[in-house]
């Protein structure tokens, strides 16, 4: 089984391999009448694009998106939007050796075990290149959200690389776009640069933790049981390549708290809306957004394609050693930041549409 779609009503289906002619996303269910051109999507793709600095893969891809359908005279029509991105820097090298063995920690072996066949060129479908299609789809979602929820701001950033975490007392939104790590803490970004240079030279790689915050999410998105906003976000983030953990608000930290500590106390604010003393809940209670910032974090494992030899086996069952040459990100977490943002955008729009379906445009219960 091979589901390549996500979303219930704002539905994204991605397709394509790392070294095929192209990859892309089909976006179905988009509301009509939304202004949309390639220029609206391209900036988001440019943020994820490889080869922008020495900390990401040196593969050179323009990642230029083409809209093949669903838009007429610059506006969405409500019919499916096909977003196509051509692969231009795939290398036609000999993959026969790579096809015979499995990188430890990589999908190579499980694709083989499941399907009995895999496209070994650049990792085929398992390549993080697939995430370009998500970012393009996220660009469409952002364009719709800009109209439906004009106060919404989605921001991703790195909060940990290897064992080193940011210092939250130095957190500055404005810093995020100013360093190659999307760090909200400039001082830590400098240290990460040193860390990563050392790892790269050692033929090694490293993991990271990304946080995505959505400010301006209205109360009421989500649902109580199996379509909880948090389970939808967990599912969405966990589908990103190399992600091994997802948490909301205090997350795993909540396990160490008491109920007294964890309770985000509620007060009436000046604008007639509830305000909270804290946000351990990460903006979600009982699966439904409360109006506080929605905060999600996800852990990205270190790249498995490394220059250091690791023990493995061949397809015919012989022990061997694998060294992965080629162009690989020493920390895939960096380029996962815009991907996490894109997933947040898609999930929030999907949930907004689901909410409208059940409730219409009318609000649920007001307080006060």
């Amino acid at each position: 089984m091979s589901f390549n779609s996500f979303g219930h009503l704002f539905r994204v289906t991605t397709w394509g391999e790392s070294h095929g002619p192209a990859l892309g996303a089909t976006v179905d269910g988009c509301p009509p009448g939304i202004a949309l051109t390639e220029a609206d999507i391209q900036p988001w793709l440019d943020r994820r694009k490889p080869g922008q600095n020495r900390f990401t893969t040196q593969r050179r891809e323009a990642d230029a998106v083409e809209i093949l359908s669903g838009v007429y005279e610059g506006k969405t029509t409500g019919t499916p939007i096909q977003l196509l991105i051509r692969n231009t820097d795939q290398r036609s090298k000999d993959y026969s050796e790579i096809a015979k063995t499995f990188r430890p920690g990589h999908a190579d072996i499980t694709y083989h075990q499941k399907y009995g066949i895999r496209d070994p060129r650049g990792g085929g479908r398992s390549s993080a290149r697939e995430t370009a299609a998500r970012v393009a789809a996220g660009g469409v979602a952002r364009q719709v959200l800009a109209q439906l929820l004009p106060d919404l701001i989605i921001t991703g950033y790195m909060v940990q690389m290897g064992p080193r975490r940011i210092d939250r007392t130095r957190f500055a939104w404005g810093t995020i776009a100013e360093n190659p790590f999307w760090s909200p803490d400039a001082a830590t970004a400098d240290l990460w640069a040193d860390d990563l240079d050392a790892l790269r030279k050692a033929g090694n790689s490293v993991g990271a933790v990304i946080e995505v915050t959505a400010r301006g999410v209205p109360a009421g998105l989500g649902a109580p049981i199996y379509a909880k906003l948090d389970s939808e976000l967990a599912s969405a983030m966990m589908t990103i390549n190399a992600v091994k953990g997802v948490e909301i608000g205090a997350g795993f930290g909540a396990a160490a708290l008491t109920g007294v500590e964890n309770a985000d106390e509620i007060f009436m604010g000046n604008e007639g809306k509830p305000v909270y003393s804290s946000n351990h809940a990460g903006g979600i209670l009982g699966g439904i957004s409360s109006g506080q910032d929605v905060v999600v974090r996800f852990a990205v494992k270190p790249t498995s394609s490394i220059l250091t030899p690791r023990a493995s086996v061949t397809t015919d069952g012989q022990n061997t050693e694998v060294v992965t040459k080629g162009r690989h990100d020493p920390c895939v977490g960096i380029r996962a930041v815009p991907v996490g943002e894109a997933m947040m955008a898609c999930v929030l729009l999907d949930q907004l549409m689901l909410h409208r379906a059940q409730m219409g445009d009318t609000p649920g219960g007001m307080i006060g």
Copy 2:
């Protein structure tokens, strides 16, 4: 929107409130010809049942399951199985005060914000009582799995309560069922007992981390992109009440590792199957099971219903204080253990069915 179903082919829909006449689960898609009686399901429910020791809520429920459909002469027929559990210890007290305010950290406020109406009796649909229905459905899944994957063993246990973690050097599978905390480390269980007694007396509660391990999962379950085994598990666990984080294998710990450390090296085992030097991947690579143990952990926040007063607001917008009397678990994580096992069983069966759909009963690629 209000999706109360999970699973693609082994599809479970739960229904019911804490203080209504009954709750239950409709299990659709179950393979036919599987031996199934109430006696096969009841033991799993008994493990989750409240009131079994001083560490869980004192509500007294028999949690007796009735099979209303889908079984003929003790065997499943392939048609939907309705599992009904009557509520017998709901108390007809006055809920009018409770209905006018919101417990901090609880779904009360977001249900109100979304729907403008909520059933305040015992938390209504947001009560953890809903998880009884999941455990019943999980009992059906286990019965099928016992036939299709006879070597599969699913085991849940608590690995952290509050800030105190188990000592993994003392890990013993046999210990888990012998203490009220499902702890694999007896010494830590004793300390937790003291911790929890103190918290309970203080009118407080505490969070926990649960781990669920599935041994004997065949290689090849899952799919590459948006139906990854890990995203399915993340989604499933995150739907359990009070869960705020999910991780697979090394999880958030993987962020701190290098690629050299994280690579689970592969060797050919004596049985002609690959063996691994470690299991940072938690048995899942590229969204597909590798044959190693599948290991999932989830964080449960502390119960928000506590005796300590917390600041809140009323439905008509006045500041107030909330104290929650009544019967509540001081650590909901304890009873989440059998729920996590049930979700694991349902997800694995669903994935096995999806795998059969695409691949038939034939294996994918053998190694060696």
Copy 3:
């Protein structure tokens, strides 16, 4: 595979067998705040109830519905509504003979071929008794529609029994509820009574055609390609027991028309809305409602359970003859009328919710 759910957002899952303890429907996704009691649903069930006249099965069932969840203080809460109907007149006779052979034209043989097991008591899951659950769910949908689309009127009626069709020049809406055949043409109803008496005495049965008209459907429901309003209706009606054909508007008659004849010409009406010279389209163009009456017809085959002996085989492969005694409708089409209405109600509400999701409460394009 065994999907027992229909609908995308207003989602109905039915369960239960003819001779089990109960059957029912789980209704998920219902908007909150809708007044709903058993008394709102019961009248629709009473219309479908067996044993009301000599033309339907003499099985005596109260078909009393119980609401087990999703309603608080007489209003829906947005959480799943469990509708339970107990079976009270199942007969504990010996089914061992019936289990060994297959009624020609009945699901007996295919259930056996697919599952290798079937519940032979009263047809088990294949009994038309399952449709009681649909009618109950349709009652919920009607209650929501009464609030969201107050001008909507859904009416089902029989237009053909055996070879005899109604005379449309005598069509009267008021006549439908006044005869046991739901005929809009009283004179034809009298002839059908004679026809059916004769068939019943001969141990035979007969087919029928049912038409369901929805008046007051707003323009814009449905979607262009695979979620067309007509394909959703076709799917819904074709799931009713014994249905072998579905058509919209002119339906199969459109095949014989020219484009000039078939074009429903459009004019501006006095109310600033388009009016049409005819309704060959049955109110649906390109999969989307136009504001004209939505008209669906479906063909019901004759009951396969008849007293006249028919050739068949046994489960162990011997030729035999089958005579079906017991209580069976000589024309199942009669009781399919309220079922068709229920499916129309569920589909329209589901489509209305889907439409709101994409478009909000704002209209699409006005004319003029």
Copy 4:
């Protein structure tokens, strides 16, 4: 809402407009290891291709399919297959007049009513050109079915054009491919040629009935209630442009039959399989295939784009007359034949995969 996908496990999503740069289909869930090249798909597209004789539109499209993903070294990999077809003969004429009015009987008006925007170039998404993508996807399904069900033969043909039906006593499978109408009755094909020449000259069009027969369908595909094989087929056929009715086996004719006549009597055949005296059921009983030929018919309305003037209104609410010039099929039913076959192939493969999911490769119940 705008679902552009069909199928549960073999899942096809189509995209694209009549006059955009390209259209296509994303095929998800395809089993791996199936030989597949463009050359396997192209013949099916060539059968649907416009401009092949004087009875179809004179638009000239090569309809050349390109496989962009999901295939490696000539075999499917189990990942999504993107099938792209470029539009080459779209005409850049002035559509401003067309955009201001609505063709009677066409989707123009309802797209406007729903979305408030539409792509008027060649009908945009509502063009029958979308069906090319289905035929391409059906080509993939056929390639899989050839391996999984080698005895399966799917054949579509026209059985009625306007009021004139084929004479079934002259039915010959071999005749179908030998005339431009896919008629199994050569004599009627000649009469249809005269009929259609006359209609075309008169600026008129005509409807048709298509039958699709699948021989060699194994018993057991489908499911009892809402995923019946017949409802899946009804839904699939009803999604094809201009289809207004679908029937299985005797279909609407069954309404006129008695139970004695309609019962397909069963006998044990020489090969140890049941044989039937007739096939009123169209190969489906209780939603599940019986092993008899699966027979589906669908009615196609006459093309609404005709040269004869018809009354209509403008977008700003003025009465007007519409005459549709340009290249249009006088009988869209002709080119619907390969489309109906493609839908049958996709549905059968999807059902086969669903069946394997629940039952594995093992058969259900044998007879004898």
